[in-house]
């Protein structure tokens, strides 16, 4: 059977073209692409009367985008590099969008309507500092509109027209930490703290940057937080005890201050106060516990408490609605609703707007709010509010309704897993999905027309539309080919989404309650998502579930959070907040009777905790006790250690689910010459079809297939940084392949003159890795294949015929099989963001490497190009076997980009999932964008193509049957006539 399948595969392979590509009209049939921007940091509205209304945003994913205010669509978008964090965003000259990024060292201007970059200027500096972008109104120096940028310890005045630096004032010599730039006619005041207790003000000439004055005022106490500008010359700050508000008054460069206890303003509140960073003229907002205090600062520097809001959420910056009127918005929660109020700063008793909105509670609380006004037909002011939610989604609220919302949390996917859909139940009729028979027939008749090339352009359009919105692919049930699945993604906001692979829609989403901020858990973060329960045969009535592992803070010493989610409904089944931490999670290859997978969670004190916490799980683990190992990679010290389970924990509290480890082995890399920069293992769920590799002369090489292999790439410590910092003689790359059970080094190889970053993928018995060759000034990719020599003497056919071999009996790593490794290196043009390999259900189909290129595309490269058997002149037999002549570089075939014309901006990872159909693998690439497609590395040899015309087949059969019948009748008649003659 297997030979036959193999033969068929071979047969089809010989017909296969080297490239995988699709036709123009196939785009969007099996793939989908979603564009996101990430969590919005700054938003600037651009709502002139003429032209399209838009909002400009910059996000935490380093995206600058212009969104349509009507529908929330993206007009244009630019994704800056991962290190190019945007610090400021504003509009200059009414036509340029100005962004300040990279700690205030890069200033860019983008054309507002189409997003093309107009100019870019680099503002170098030496000192790391806060960066401030300040675009003064009507400040000109020699007819140039000025943009003031403080960054890297210096103040730059940049021309808004061409980005030229007009003057520069360096503050890196002073110890001032600049927090504000204020403009007063032609003088620019730069204020800041020196050692958090001394206020310093510099007055500069706006025309040329000349220093006019410098004043200091020492406060008798330290301060907490940042200086907040209240009005043109007034600032507030908290003292270091966070109990007093200090009002700082600058008048023509003179500094005066007074202070007031918070308890003088409000009696009944105590706690840690924080000044909210909303810029309101003459006011500021103070957050104590869950209350938001709105405090007005009079011209004399007196503080007046104007309002106290319980459950306050967010306060927007102020908005100038007319000459001297300023409005701002704030929201607070109450009875499952969100109350949005827009008030005039000067007229507190009067509400400009008061609305209550119901927002899906899965979106969480409101994180930020931006307001914008418009003039209604009756000349009154209307307001729209842009809200950034806790799950990073973006909403536009106008007239008490959500106009649009964007799920921008999906721009920050942390981890992905998949789940099967429910099995189709009895009673769900096909007609319900397929509309009706007439529609079905009509569709197929159209297709037939297309096949026979008699379709009109209208028909063609109808066919294309029919194909694109095929209801078949977005059904909520399991399909025969296994194309329909749920992609379960965990985002940085702690929200879990289930996306349908058919069309990418969100099936359910849950903002994990266990990843909410609480007193016990300050800054919860979701780390990984695992398949917890995958019901198969006997537990089919149960829903599958996933496990989300998080921890209460960025460091390893914070306790773990475990959450179990039903994969069909998206309900949190249960959540645990154990006392231990989660340094590692090891899914074991065993499941209990309800198909829950056993997981070992290892904490930072090297105890292992078994989940699920059931006696059955303990029994299973006890049974496999001596065969469970664990290894830890300590990249800082260059040590890899192996451990084995020893016994139950010896602790005060008896916990039979806790286990101790004993150390077995350690591999210590010489720290003066090697530093671990990358490790890679095989995927635990990978299926391998065969253990043998057949050479051209029918010889057999036995693959060394072990799940316990670890690829480690070490670079020279000097060369661990970026490319170009070392000379080739100082750089080398050492790669190891280790057995993680015994600690045995199976293979070691040194690449001289090479350095990282290393991206690797491990599959079957081979590893492919990508690195930079300093001597050749090019990127390289290498392949290492490992073969088991101890099996190589199994050459007698009769032993196989009679079944007298032990090739399938279980093996132990302690048998120390002799292995050999074959390797080969090639140049590769692109730098790489991620490498993955296709995975299929049975592992028969040939493999393709999926390479996430620097251009944010995914390239499919046949594994055949990375084959150590390649030679310059392959023999005829080798050619027939599909061995490609050796070339020094790997070809990049434009048709083999599986993302075709699209870009997965900010690509971070690629996930492959096998479909049930052996030929097909599902690919999900995520970054700022999401992209999903199906690929068949050896073509779909096991199914008819999607555009196969069943109608034509049916018609042919009917015609044939009719022809048979007619000829039969005719021949009968002729026979009869013959007999009468």
């Amino acid at each position: 059977m297997a030979i036959r399948v193999f033969l068929i595969v071979l047969l089809f392979l010989s017909f296969t073209n080297l490239t995988y590509s699709l036709y123009e009209d196939q785009v969007g049939l099996m793939d989908w692409h979603q564009k996101y921007i990430g969590k919005v940091k700054h938003a600037v509205f651009h709502t002139q009367k003429t032209g399209r209304k838009r909002v400009l945003v910059s996000t935490e994913e380093n995206v600058v985008a212009s969104l349509d205010l009507r529908h929330g669509e993206i007009f244009w978008r630019h994704v800056l590099g991962t290190n190019d964090v945007i610090d400021g965003l504003d509009i200059a000259l009414g036509k340029y969008v100005i962004t300040l990024s990279s700690d205030g060292s890069i200033l860019r201007a983008w054309n507002l309507p189409d997003g093309q970059m107009v100019w870019e200027s680099s503002l170098p500096g030496s000192k790391a500092s806060k960066s401030i972008l300040y675009i003064p109104k009507n400040l000109k120096a020699d007819k140039d509109d000025l943009i003031l940028v403080y960054g890297k310890g210096s103040l730059n005045a940049v021309s808004g027209v061409d980005g030229e630096v007009l003057w520069k004032k360096d503050f890196s010599g002073e110890s001032i930490e600049v927090s504000h730039i204020i403009q007063s006619s032609d003088v620019i005041y730069v204020t800041g703290f020196v050692d958090s207790s001394k206020i310093s003000v510099y007055g500069l000439n706006a025309k040329n940057g000349e220093l006019l004055e410098n004043n200091h005022a020492a406060l008798p106490f330290g301060t907490f937080g940042e200086l907040l500008s209240v009005s043109g010359d007034m600032f507030v700050v908290l003292d270091e005890m966070r109990s007093k508000i200090v009002i700082v008054h600058l008048r023509n460069g003179e500094i005066s201050y007074n202070q007031k206890h918070i308890s003088d303003l409000t009696k009944d509140l105590a706690g840690q106060a924080v000044i909210l960073p909303s810029r309101l003229p003459g006011m500021f907002a103070l957050n104590i516990n869950s209350y938001v205090l709105l405090i007005k600062v009079t011209n004399q520097g007196e503080l007046v408490l104007v309002d106290k809001v319980n459950n306050g959420a967010a306060v927007s910056d102020s908005l100038s609605i007319s000459e001297d009127e300023h409005a701002f918005a704030f929201v607070h929660y109450g009875d499952n609703k969100i109350h949005l109020s827009v008030k005039n700063v000067n007229d507190w008793n009067h509400d400009l707007l008061k609305e209550s909105i119901v927002i899906d509670h899965q979106k969480g609380k409101i994180d930020k709010i931006f307001v914008n006004n418009y003039v209604r037909t009756d000349r009154s002011h209307g307001f729209r509010a842009l809200m950034v939610m806790e799950d990073h989604s973006l909403l536009l609220v106008q007239q008490g309704e959500i106009v649009w919302s964007r799920e921008d949390g999906l721009a920050s996917v942390v981890d992905v897993t998949t789940s099967e859909l429910p099995v189709q139940k009895e009673g769900v009729s096909v007609a319900k999905v397929e509309q009706n028979l007439f529609e079905w027939l009509k569709g197929h008749m159209l297709k037939l027309k297309g096949t026979l090339m008699i379709a009109s352009p209208d028909d063609l359009a109808a066919i294309q539309a029919l194909r694109l919105r095929s209801s078949e692919k977005s059904k909520m049930t399991r399909d025969h080919n296994g194309f329909r699945k749920l992609l379960i993604v965990l985002t940085r906001a702690g929200k879990v989404f289930a996306l349908h692979t058919g069309d990418g829609r969100v099936v359910w989403s849950i903002l994990l309650p266990s990843l909410h901020k609480s007193e016990a858990c300050e800054n919860p973060v979701g780390l990984h998502i695992y398949q917890w329960q995958v019901p198969h045969h006997h537990a089919l009535d149960e829903n599958p579930s996933v496990l989300v592992v998080g921890q209460c803070g960025p460091s390893l010493s914070t306790p773990a959070v475990l959450s179990f989610i039903d994969a069909y409904t998206g309900m949190e089944l249960k959540s645990l907040s154990p006392a231990h931490t989660a340094a590692q999670v090891i899914p074991l290859p065993h499941t209990d009777s309800t198909e829950q997978r056993l997981h070992l969670i290892i904490d930072d004190k090297q105890h292992a905790y078994l989940y699920p916490r059931t006696p059955e799980a303990i029994d299973i683990l006890k049974h496999e006790f001596s065969n469970v190992y664990w290894y830890s990679v300590d990249a800082d010290n260059g040590v890899i250690r192996g451990h084995a389970l020893k016994s139950n924990c010896i602790q005060e509290a008896v916990d039979e689910y806790c286990f101790d480890f004993r150390d077995l082995w350690s591999v210590v890399f010489p720290s003066e010459s090697e530093k671990i920069i990358a490790t890679m293992t095989r995927k635990s769920n990978e299926v391998v079809h065969t253990q043998a590799k057949v050479m051209t002369d029918y010889d057999v090489m036995y693959k060394y297939i072990s799940k316990n292999l670890l690829f480690v790439a070490n670079a020279a410590p000097k060369a661990a940084g970026e490319i170009g910092t070392v000379i080739p003689e100082e750089a080398w790359l050492v790669i190891y392949i280790l057995d993680t059970v015994t600690g045995r080094i199976l293979h070691r190889m040194t690449h001289h003159g090479c350095q990282g970053p290393v991206h690797a993928v491990f599959s079957e018995n081979w590893v492919v890795y990508h690195y930079f060759n300093l001597r050749a000034h090019r990127y390289e990719m290498s392949v290492v294949e490992i073969y088991d020599q101890s099996r190589a003497d199994n050459k007698d056919v009769w032993r196989f015929v009679l079944g007298k071999h032990n090739l399938t009996s279980p093996v132990s790593s302690y048998s120390r099989p002799e292995v050999i490794a074959k390797s080969q290196s090639y140049f590769f043009t692109h730098s790489v963001k991620a490498i993955e390999v296709t995975s299929t259900a049975k592992g028969i189909t040939s493999k393709q490497l999926l390479i996430g290129t620097i251009g944010d595309q995914v390239l499919a490269l046949d594994k055949r190009f990375l084959d150590p058997r390649r030679t310059v002149n392959p023999s005829q037999a080798e050619k027939e076997d599909g061995i490609i002549p050796l070339t020094d570089s790997l070809p990049i075939i434009p048709q083999s980009y599986i993302t075709h014309a699209l870009k997965v901006e900010g690509l971070r990872g690629i996930v492959t999932v096998p479909a049930k159909l052996e030929s097909t693998s599902l690919v999900f690439a995520y970054g700022v964008d999401l992209f999903f497609t199906q690929i068949a590395p050896s073509r779909t040899y096991d199914s008819l193509t999607e555009d196969f015309s069943y109608a034509l087949l049916l018609l042919t059969i009917v015609a044939l049957v009719a022809a048979i019948f007619v000829t039969w009748v005719l021949s009968e008649r002729k026979d009869l006539q013959d007999k009468w003659r």
Partner: protein, 181 residues
């Protein structure tokens, strides 16, 4: 036609008039032989004639049987030529030829008895032709098998048996890696 056949057929006679009196005993004869007539010579002549006829028939049968037995040889040559033409790569043509080369000898061997049926005669030795026929067909079969092997479709190599073997299970399981986050 049928009737005629029946008359001519040697086994299915209903009646016969024997004009040649074979009785040699003088007592049974009423009339003496005419002078100059020698009965013995006629008897002899007659029997010689029929024997000659039968001999010729059996000779002819034997000859035919040998011819039939040698027929596969020509076939063999032609098959060999076609196989040579088909080349050694696996495709539709070569597979078709190889399978027909295998099928012909097998079907011929199955019907050995039927093929030699017409030449069956008590006096004709059919064992030789049969053996030759079988040998030649076996040769043809061998040629087919050889071709099959040449195409690589016979599981004569270790690789054919190993490639369907799943990888061996591992006793130990190890997990871990870099710390999370």
């Amino acid at each position: 036609m049928d009737k005629g056949k029946g008359v001519m057929g040697s086994n299915a006679r209903r009646w016969a008039v024997d004009f040649s009196d074979n009785s040699t005993s003088p007592s049974s004869r009423d009339v003496p032989d005419p002078p100059g007539f020698s009965r013995a010579s006629i008897d002899q002549d007659d029997s010689t004639l029929s024997r000659q006829k039968k001999d010729a028939e059996s000779n002819w049968k034997a000859q035919k049987a040998w011819e039939v037995a040698q027929a596969p040889f020509k076939n063999l040559l032609m098959m060999g030529f076609m196989m040579w033409m088909a080349g050694s790569t696996v495709h539709l043509f070569s597979i078709g030829i190889t399978f027909s080369a295998l099928w012909q000898p097998i079907s011929a061997l199955q019907s050995v008895g039927k093929i030699f049926e017409p030449y069956k005669d008590s006096r004709v030795e059919l064992l030789g032709p049969k053996l030759l026929f079988i040998a030649l067909n076996l040769g043809g079969l061998a040629l087919g098998v050889w071709k099959l092997n040449a195409l690589g479709l016979l599981p004569t190599h270790t690789s054919d048996w190993v490639s369907s073997l799943p990888p061996a299970q591992e006793v130990e399981y190890s997990g871990g890696g870099l710390n999370l986050s």
